[in-house]
C-alpha cells in the first residue's frame, strides 16, 4: 500500500484515499487518520490477524482430539486453548469483523456521505479495540496463567480459578466500549447523513442490517460490561453477587451474561445477512425479492432476539414456566431468518446469475446457514434440548451459524468489495477453488459433531470415550482441508494486493452507490454529493463493466 506521500494536490478530486496528501505522513497518516475508509482498513488487518491466531488454536485443539487421552497437550493447556479460541473469535473477530471493517468502509459511501457522523469517535473505537486486544494478549503472559473458564466465564468457576481471569475479562469490558461507540456512530450516521433522495426504504439492505445491529450494540453491550466488572469485583473483594458461598446466585450471572450474549449472536449474524442482500442482487442482475420484508425482518430479529436468552439456560434449573415461554419465543425468532432465506433464493428466480467467487461463498452460506438454523430448532425445543445442550451438537450448531454464517460471509464480503477497497482484482479461479475447499472442509469438520452430540459426547472435553474416535478423526482431517482452503484464499488475496490488475470502478455491475465512485474511492468518497432517485437495486439502466481479461 502506498503511504500517502505522492506529491499531488490534496484538493485534486482524482486521487484515491491511499495517495491523497494528508496532514500526517507515513505510519501517522494511518494512526491519526479520521477517514472511515482508513479506519476500516486498519480494522481489516487487525481482525484478519486475530482470526488467523484463533484458527491456529482451533487446529491444535482438533489435533489433540485425534486420539483419546493425551495426543499433543495436557488438559490444562487444552482448557486454556478452547477458552482462548472462543474469546478471540467472538470478541476480536466475529463481533467487529463485518460492521467495523465493511460497515466503516461502506456504510458512509452507500449512504452517499463523506464520512461517519463522528469521525474522531470512530478512531477512538479503533484504539479501544486495540487496547482491549493488547490487554487480552497481556493476560496470556501474566498473572496465574492463561484463563481456563471457557468464553462464557461461568461463575463460580471463574471466581475460583487461579488463572488470569480478571485481566482477560477487563479486556472484554474495554472491547465492549469499542462496540458501543461504533454502534452509536452508525445509528447517527444513518439518521443524519443520508444523501438527497436516500429515503429509508431506498437504503441498501446492508445499511438496514447495520442499523438493526447498531441498536443491539448500543442497548445490550452495557449489560455485559456491568456483568464483567462484577466478576472482577467478586474476585478481588468477594462482594457476594454471584458466589453462593457468600450469598450470591450463580444463575444471576447466567441471566446477565445471556441477556447480552444472546442478542450478541445477532450482532454477529445480522451484518452478514446484510452483505448477502447486497451480493445476490448484483450477481443476479436484478432487484432483491422482497426488499421490505428483508429490511423489517432485520428489525424483527433485533427485537425478538432480546427476549430469548433463557434458552441457553434450559438445563440450569430455571422454572418450568419460564422454560416454556423462552422456548416459544425462540421458535418465533427463527422465523425472520427463514423469511430472509426464502427471499434470497427467490431473488435468483429469473435472474441472470453469474457465479463469481463472492456469489459462490453466498451459495455456500445459504446451504450451511440453513443447516445451522434448522438444527437450532432441536435446541430451542424443550425436551430435545435437555439431551443435546452442552454436547458437541451445540458446538456444531453454533459453528454452522457463526462460522458458516458470519465467517463465510466475511470471506464473501472480502471478495465482493476487495476491488473497491484496494483497487485491485484477484485471481478468480483460485478464489473459487479456495471456496470449494472451504465448503468441503467445513462440513467435514463440523458435521460429525452433530452425530457425536446426539450420541452424547459432551463439549469442552479434553478426553473422550473410544467409541467417538472415528468421528473425531474425520473432524480433524476436515480441519486440515478447511484451513488449507482458508490459507489459499488469503494468499490469493495477498498476491492480488501486490500484483493484482487494476480494478474498474464497477467490476460486478453493482447498483449501490459505492460502485459509482472510483476504485479505490477518493478521499471525500464522491466528486459531488450524489442524488438518489430509485431503490438501491435498480438494474434497469445498468451497463455492467466487465473486467478486461
Amino acid at each position: 500500500m502506498a503511504n500517502g506521500t505522492i506529491a499531488v494536490s490534496p484538493h485534486t478530486a482524482e486521487v484515491d484515499f491511499y495517495n491523497v496528501r494528508t496532514k500526517h505522513k507515513g505510519i501517522l497518516s494511518w494512526l491519526l487518520t479520521i477517514d472511515h475508509k482508513r479506519i476500516g482498513i486498519m480494522y481489516l488487518f487487525a481482525v484478519v490477524f486475530f482470526f488467523l491466531v484463533a484458527m491456529t488454536i482451533g487446529v491444535f485443539m482438533r489435533l489433540e482430539m485425534l486420539t483419546p487421552g493425551e495426543t499433543i497437550m495436557k488438559p490444562q493447556t487444552y482448557n486454556s486453548l478452547f477458552t482462548l479460541h472462543g474469546v478471540i473469535m467472538i470478541f476480536l473477530f466475529i463481533i467487529p469483523a463485518v460492521p467495523a471493517v465493511f460497515g466503516n468502509f461502506f456504510l458512509p459511501i452507500q449512504l452517499g456521505a463523506q464520512d461517519v457522523q463522528f469521525p474522531k469517535l470512530n478512531l477512538l473505537s479503533w484504539y479501544l479495540y486495540v487496547i482491549g486486544a493488547v490487554l487480552a494478549l497481556t493476560s496470556l503472559f501474566s498473572g496465574g496463567g492463561i484463563m481456563d473458564t471457557g468464553w462464557t466465564f461461568y461463575v463460580p468457576y471463574s471466581i475460583r480459578t487461579t488463572t488470569n481471569v480478571s485481566l482477560s475479562v477487563f479486556a472484554a469490558f474495554v472491547l465492549g466500549f469499542a462496540t458501543i461507540l461504533t454502534g452509536l456512530n452508525f445509528i447517527t450516521t444513518i439518521h443524519r447523513l443520508r444523501c438527497p433522495g436516500m429515503t429509508w426504504f431506498r437504503m441498501p439492505l446492508f445499511a438496514w442490517a447495520l442499523y438493526a445491529t447498531s441498536w443491539i450494540q448500543v442497548l445490550a453491550t452495557p449489560v455485559i460490561g456491568i456483568t464483567l466488572i462484577l466478576i472482577i469485583l467478586e474476585r478481588a473483594f468477594g462482594i457476594g453477587i454471584f458466589d453462593p458461598a457468600l450469598g450470591g446466585d450463580p444463575l444471576l450471572y447466567q441471566h446477565m451474561f445471556w441477556i447480552y450474549s444472546h442478542p450478541a449472536v445477532y450482532i454477529m449474524i445480522l451484518p452478514a445477512m446484510g452483505v448477502v442482500s447486497e451480493i445476490i442482487p448484483t450477481f443476479s442482475k436484478k432487484a432483491i425479492f422482497g426488499y421490505v420484508p428483508i429490511a423489517i425482518s432485520s428489525l424483527g430479529i433485533a427485537l425478538v432476539g432480546y427476549l430469548v436468552w433463557g434458552h441457553h439456560m434450559f438445563s440450569s434449573g430455571i422454572s418450568d414456566t419460564s422454560r416454556v415461554i423462552f422456548s416459544l419465543l425462540t421458535f418465533f425468532v427463527a422465523l425472520p431468518s427463514g423469511i430472509k432465506i426464502f427471499n434470497w433464493v427467490a431473488t435468483m428466480y429469473k435472474g441472470s446469475i453469474e457465479v463469481t467467487a463472492p456469489m459462490l461463498y453466498v451459495l455456500l452460506f445459504i446451504f450451511i446457514f440453513s443447516i445451522g438454523g434448522l438444527t437450532g430448532l432441536s435446541l430451542g425445543a424443550l425436551n430435545t434440548d435437555l439431551h443435546l445442550t452442552d454436547t458437541y451438537f451445540v458446538v456444531a450448531h453454533f459453528h454452522y451459524v457463526m462460522f458458516g454464517g458470519m465467517g463465510i460471509i466475511f470471506f464473501a464480503a472480502l471478495h465482493y468489495w476487495f476491488p473497491k477497497m484496494f483497487g485491485k482484482m484477484y485471481n478468480e479461479k483460485v478464489a473459487k477453488t479456495a471456496a470449494i475447499w472451504i465448503g468441503i472442509g467445513f462440513n467435514m469438520l463440523y458435521f460429525p459433531m452433530f452425530i457425536m452430540g446426539y450420541l452424547g459426547q459432551p463439549r469442552r472435553y479434553y478426553d473422550y470415550l473410544p467409541e467417538f474416535q472415528k468421528y473425531h478423526i474425520f473432524s480433524t482431517v476436515g480441519s486440515w482441508v478447511l484451513v488449507s482452503g482458508i490459507l489459499i484464499m488469503y494468499i490469493n488475496l495477498a498476491i492480488a494486493l501486490k500484483r493484482g490488475k487494476k480494478a474498474p470502478d464497477n467490476p460486478w455491475g453493482g447498483t449501490t452507490l459505492e460502485w459509482k465512485t472510483s476504485s479505490p474511492p477518493i478521499m471525500e468518497n464522491f466528486k459531488e454529493i450524489p442524488t438518489v432517485t430509485t431503490g438501491p437495486y435498480d438494474h434497469s439502466n445498468m451497463e455492467s463493466q466487465e473486467v478486461k481479461k
Binding site: F367, A381, L455
Partner: protein, 255 residues
C-alpha cells in the same frame, strides 16, 4: 402407562430433523436449479421481479405452523419429563470437582450409581463447589448441578444394563474425567446392595408410623427447592429413623 421419555425425546428430535431435512432440500434444490436455469450464459437478461405479497404470506404462515407443531410436541414431552411420579425413588446426586456422589434414602453413599430395574427414579442434584451438569446420555436428559440450589429430574429404568453418567457443564481440569458408572440391576439385588452396611450401624426395625410420616416429608420438601437445605438438615437429625424407614420399605417392596 406414561410415555417413555427416551422415546419421546428421540421422536421429537426426528420429527424436527425430518421437517428440517425437507426444508433444507427445498431451499438447496431451488437454489441450485435457479443457478443452473438462470445462468448468465443461458439467461442473459434478468426479469425484474421485486416481490410477491402472496408468496411472502405463504412462506411466513407455513413456517409459523411448523414451528408451533414442533413447540407443542416438545412441550408435551417436556411436561412428562418434569412431572415426577409420586412414588419415584429419590437419589441425591452431589457433584464436586471431579466426581459424583450418590446418596440413597437410607444414607448409603456410593460413587457408582446402582439403580433397580424398571423403576421410576428421581434425582436431586446439588453441587458443593462449581457448576456441573448431571448428564445421562442413555436417558436423554441432564440438569445442572449448581451450588446453593437443588435441581431435579426423573427417569424410568429398563432391564438391567450398564450405562454412564457424565458431567456436561465445564468444571475445570478434569471435567472430561467426571464419569460415573450407572448400573441397573434387578430390584432384589439392588435392595440387598443398598441395605448392606458395615456391622456397627445395624439397628432394629421399629416405629413404623413415625417413619412413614418422615417419608412424605422428604418427598414434599424435595419439590420445593428453597426449602431443601432445611429438609436436608432435618434429614440429618433423624438419620436413625430414616434408616429404619428404608429398611421397612425394602421389606415391603421385596414381597
Amino acid at each position: 402407562m406414561r410415555p417413555n421419555i427416551v422415546d419421546q425425546v428421540d421422536q421429537t428430535f426426528w420429527l424436527i430433523t425430518g421437517i428440517s431435512i425437507i426444508l433444507l432440500l427445498i431451499i438447496t434444490i431451488a437454489m441450485l436449479y435457479f443457478v443452473y436455469k438462470y445462468n448468465r450464459k443461458r439467461h442473459p437478461v434478468a426479469e425484474n421481479i421485486e416481490g410477491n405479497t402472496t408468496l411472502e404470506i405463504v412462506w411466513t404462515i407455513i413456517p409459523v405452523i411448523l414451528v408451533l407443531i414442533m413447540f407443542f410436541v416438545s412441550w408435551s414431552g417436556f411436561k412428562n419429563m418434569r412431572d415426577v411420579p409420586k412414588d419415584a425413588m429419590v437419589v441425591s446426586v452431589t457433584g464436586q470437582m471431579w466426581k459424583w456422589t450418590f446418596e440413597y434414602d437410607n444414607k448409603k453413599k456410593s460413587d457408582t450409581l446402582f439403580l433397580p430395574a424398571n423403576k421410576d427414579v428421581k434425582f436431586e442434584i446439588k453441587s458443593v463447589d462449581v457448576n456441573h451438569s448431571f448428564y445421562l446420555p442413555a436417558f436423554r436428559t441432564k440438569e445442572d448441578a449448581i451450588p446453593g440450589r437443588v435441581n431435579h429430574y426423573w427417569i424410568r429404568t429398563n432391564e438391567p444394563a450398564v450405562y454412564y453418567a457424565a458431567c456436561a457443564e465445564y468444571c475445570g481440569l478434569n471435567h472430561s474425567y467426571m464419569y460415573a458408572p450407572v448400573i441397573v440391576i434387578p430390584e432384589k439385588k439392588f435392595i440387598e446392595w443398598k441395605n448392606y452396611t458395615p456391622p456397627d450401624t445395624t439397628k432394629s426395625v421399629t416405629t413404623v408410623t413415625k417413619t412413614d410420616s418422615l417419608k412424605t416429608d422428604t418427598l414434599k420438601t424435595g419439590n420445593v427447592n428453597s426449602l431443601n437445605k432445611d429438609s436436608l438438615k432435618t434429614g440429618n437429625v433423624k438419620t436413625d429413623s430414616l434408616k429404619k424407614n428404608s429398611g421397612k420399605k425394602d421389606t415391603v417392596n421385596t414381597k
